[in-house]
Symmetry: C2
Subunit: 133 residues, 2 copies
């Protein structure tokens, strides 16, 4: 962990499972490093390192309590995540019409979410020779 202030995006921060676990712990109430360490069965340096990343990214803030540090959530990055998600929310929330418009924007053909190794031959679609480039 060098001295260079790596500005990681909020997305990279929450990509780490242990960091998400810490955040989930802090939802109930603020916790000290030792409490987090015990509840998550995680070595103490790991907890401190993750907390540092979370703190520098604005997810948490720390408070001095004798020898301990109490950590609690801060809303900023969560709002940022929510703002990003909002752009995609029209695809599922509320009514389905936005999704539907998107769906039959094209004639229904075979859709698959897995690997498209075997392709169906599609003899009916006659298209001009591609010269797009």
């Amino acid at each position: 962990m060098g001295y260079i202030q790596r500005v990681e995006s909020v997305f990279e921060i929450i990509a780490e499972p242990n960091r998400r676990a810490i955040l989930s712990l802090l939802v109930s109430s603020q916790q000290s490093v030792g409490e987090i360490e015990r509840q998550l069965r995680m070595p103490q340096p790991a907890v401190s390192k993750h907390l540092r990343v979370l703190r520098e990214a604005g997810f948490v803030e720390s408070m001095v309590d004798a020898q301990r540090r109490l950590y609690r959530l801060k809303p900023g990055p969560f709002q940022e995540l929510d703002a990003w998600l909002a752009r995609f929310r029209r695809f599922w929330s509320g009514h389905i019409d936005a999704l539907d418009r998107h769906l039959d924007h094209m004639d229904r053909q075979q859709y698959g979410s897995s690997t498209p190794t075997k392709r169906k031959t599609n003899p009916k679609t006659t298209r001009p020779k591609p010269r797009t480039r």
Copy 2:
């Protein structure tokens, strides 16, 4: 990119900036690989690889159109992200009372979100000798 089906979490998927860019592109409408390649100025193999990751994670689905593949969004993973975020939503959305309750759950002391290298001496707090462990 081996044959092993690596089940990455949705969080790891959207941690990649280029993948987020692709998802943002697909918000407006479905796009072919070539269109994404040109708009994002990204080499084609990179686009295909990211699309594969997104497809296997359920973020997008592909549709055959002659030699091209049209990709469009799928709602599932976004709902999953939204569900995770919902647990933290009480910290900022709606009324502030939930946040406030959390705030003055402890007496206000010095809070800082940056590195706590210099600590203030806190002479008033007299505590018993720590014997927790």
